[in-house]
Amino acid sequence: MRRGVGLLLVCALAMGGAPPAAGQPTSQPSALRMAITRDEGALNPYTYQTGYPGWNLMTLIYEPLFTPDADNIPQPWLVRQYTVSQDGRTWTFALHPNIRWHDGRPFTADDVRFTYEYVRRNPHSRWTGQVRTIESIETSGPTGLTIRLNAPSSGFAAQPLADLPILPRHIWENVANPRQFNDVVGSGPYRLAEMRDGQFYRLVANDQYFAGRPKVRELVLPIIRDATVTFTALRAGEIDTTVRPLAPEVVAEFERAAGMRVARGAGYASTILQFNAEHPVLREPKLRVAIANAINTRLMVRLLLLGYGVVGSPGYIHPSSPFYNPAVTFTASKSRAVQLLNELNYVDRNGDGIRDLPDGAALRFTLLTLAGNPVRIRGADLIRSWLRDVGIDVRVVAQEDASIIAQVWPDFDVCKGRRFDMAVFGWSAPVMNRTTALRDLFHSDCRQGTINIGGYRNPALDRLGADLAAAVDPARQKQILFEMQKIVAADLPVHTLFYQDGIYAYRPDRHAAWVYQKGQGIVNKLSFIDPPRR
């Protein structure tokens, strides 16, 4: 019987996955091990899963024409030269001549044209919308490309140029269902050598890469689901870094640890107090401003983030963004909150300590918050107690993500309305990076303000949003965005509470050339290869 157990064990061990196929070079001790948190499909443009780090890892294999630099400004990458016509509608590109696909075929302008047309035909949540403004694409020779837009588009360089990765036409032209296609031949500095579902990805440097050899020969990406285990493995040296940001509580510990270094920078993900601007009471901007005045966001950053964060700007835009309007400020004051509430004639009429509306109903709201997120739950509780101090009764309801979405953003379609009062919510970093972010967040037309989950309406902001979408000149964009931030700060359709810093730990002896990309983190192409020379 005992022999039986041993046999079972050996069988199980032997069965668990075949050795790698012949011809694949095996992992080297020099491999850089960077833990990720989940599977990312086949790491191709139609199967990767997360915006960060999924997109960043996928674009090591499949490259867009441009690449965002450390400040998130799109810079030409596969493109050697480009010009934009006066009217902003015609973009002409010359590609680098020596780019090759991982299978050795030349990368040409025709692949680019194919890709832009392909994502139009085969819906992709990220790119199909981005290529909507394209009127025509023409190629001239293997490296010449002209894209004509039906209207000038402010965000075109960022999206799609620096966002949409190019597919090899010779492999994808007959693929009818890209979501079930797992090929991984790209043109980037790395190619996928091995992939094990639920275990790891292995990327090896592409020695034929047109811009030179990548700084790291081999990248191994183990999937570790549990946060504590991830950081234990990092401390023990079983991994060299992780895409998981450090929790504020452990930053000091990792800064002190031998052989570890911590990279810290601005985080563009926001935590906001979202108002339902269609709510019969909360539609009053003065009330929203009063509520904001009762909330001490400075103290929130100290208590919840231990100082590793930035106090929210009332215009939503992060102070590190090139589009931030420094003239837009907000200083909370409890006495101002009380004064505003009195002016609105919301006073306690029945002596229960809660202010009442003129019709006698109590000033009482439900505040939704995400159950799995301790920072947001504690934030919601702080808001509850501060609002209670000024006579507003708030009931905090913590629910799981799907239930919150069902109330705040049914079917992820703002055209379908909303049923909530207030929510502690947040947007991920890419929202901040969109040139049109403030239009997307606050335009009253649900087809333009696609993430205007509060249903906010302001014709002046709508007009500026339309101007912004058509503005190609960065100076003009900045001017419009400054105006928009002023309106948002005055009306407060959302109250931006804070932005949590991105804090990442790594072992510098394994790789030290990390580039912190503003708002996002260290996992990006610039950490692995320098930009091509023009």
């Binding site: 039986g4 157990v5 079972l8 064990l9 069988c11 199980a12 061990l13 032997a14 668990g16 996955g17 050795p19 790698p20 992992s27 091990r33 599977d39 499909g41 086949a42 139609y46 199967t47 899963q49 997360t50 915006g51 819906p123 949540s125 990220r126 919308g129 979501r179 079930q180 296609f181 797992n182 091995e194 094990r196 579902d197 639920g198 275990q199 790891f200 292995r202 081999e218 990406l221 183990p222 570790i224 689901r225 549990d226 504590t228 285990v229 234990t232 493995a233 023990a236 079983e238 799907a402 239930s403 979405i405 069902a406 079917d411 992820f412 055209c415 991920s428 890419p430 087809r447 696609t450």
Partner: protein
């Protein structure tokens, strides 16, 4: 005999049909739509047309009954379909993951049964002794600790602090071992999850065995055997343990069916690529096809284990033999 077989067969068929219906219905009754997982984080920037197009691509625009017909039709043809999230055939994913789960949970079940039987028998044999009380105390402890906590402690002590075992994974990520090197690497990675899972499974087995043994030890034939002068060791092994094994065998068979469902918590803590984690991730991602398929596979194996138990019982215990 044939009536019995037909009756049992009909019962299992009914269970199977009910499972197919529940497998389809339950995931769809969970709050939340798979949209965000189909569309990714850019779900907010889709136009309503694109959203509709995406739903249509996965057949989610169809009425529920039609989706059900498609699902049953595919199942009948042995097609498990494609994972929403992974874009790969589910059969392929399950084939990759099943060996890990069988290796971990199957080995653990066998180990836990042997340990449980041995310790339970000794414990009952020495009832009331310090050995019995000590064993019971330790068993109660492991019965009540959460598996993730035990796993974390093992990781902290045996992996991070002492460095005897790796911290995560089922093999060294990206390394290509062959022959003995491969077996050693796998075994080192298996050790801690296996120990965790076994330690939390042993107490259940132990308590059942001890209880059954106490019953048997009070029987007349044990007294008779002793009176006849049968040596104590022989009384224990031949007369007592054998007769006390039946309840343990029942629990073993029941657990055997659930082996394929994996050990979600342990697999997650140790980043072990088993079916339990696949199932858990499918729930989080509302990956309906994966949920349907894995639940279906689990049901089939539970039924198969039951059938096997039905067939094995008469061999283990002559009293349940029928004509």
């Amino acid at each position: 005999m044939w009536r019995f077989v037909a009756g049992r067969g009909a019962q299992y068929l009914l269970v199977l049909c009910l499972t197919v219906i529940l497998n389809f219905g339950l995931p769809r009754m969970m709050p939340g739509s798979p949209m965000v997982f189909l569309a990714g984080e850019d779900v907010g920037f889709l136009t309503p047309e694109q959203r509709a197009q995406l739903y249509a691509l996965y057949g989610l625009d169809q009425p529920q009954w039609r989706q059900f017909v498609t699902y049953v039709g595919n199942l009948a043809r042995g097609q498990l379909g494609y994972s929403f999230q992974r874009g790969r055939p589910i059969g392929e994913i399950v084939r990759e993951r099943l060996p890990w789960t069988l290796g971990l949970v199957g080995t653990s079940l066998v180990l836990a049964t042997f340990l449980g039987v041995a310790l339970g028998a000794v414990s009952a044999w020495r009832r009331g002794s310090a050995l019995d009380l000590g064993t019971l105390g330790v068993a109660m402890f492991f019965e009540s600790v959460p598996s993730f906590w035990l796993g974390m402690i093992f990781i902290a002590v045996f992996a991070a602090h002492l460095g005897w075992f790796p911290i995560f994974g089922a093999g060294t990520a990206g390394a290509a071992f062959e022959g003995w090197g491969l077996v050693v690497d796998r075994a080192r990675h298996l050790a801690l999850p296996l120990a965790t899972l076994t330690l939390i499974t042993v107490p259940g087995m132990l308590l059942i065995m001890r209880y059954a043994m106490l019953g048997v030890l009070g029987e007349q034939y044990i007294a008779t055997a002793r009176a006849k002068g049968v040596p104590e060791g022989r009384v224990l092994r031949r007369h007592a343990v054998r007769n006390a094994l039946l309840p343990v065998a029942t629990v073993f068979m029941l657990n055997l069916g659930f082996v394929v469902s994996g050990a979600t918590v342990v697999e997650t803590v140790f980043s072990y690529p088993g079916l339990g984690r696949l199932l858990y991730e499918a729930v989080l991602n509302r990956d309906y096809p994966v949920l349907q398929s894995t639940f279906f596979i689990i049901t089939v194996s539970v039924i198969a284990a039951n059938v096997a138990a039905d067939l094995l019982y008469p061999l283990i215990d002559p009293r349940v033999r029928r004509r």
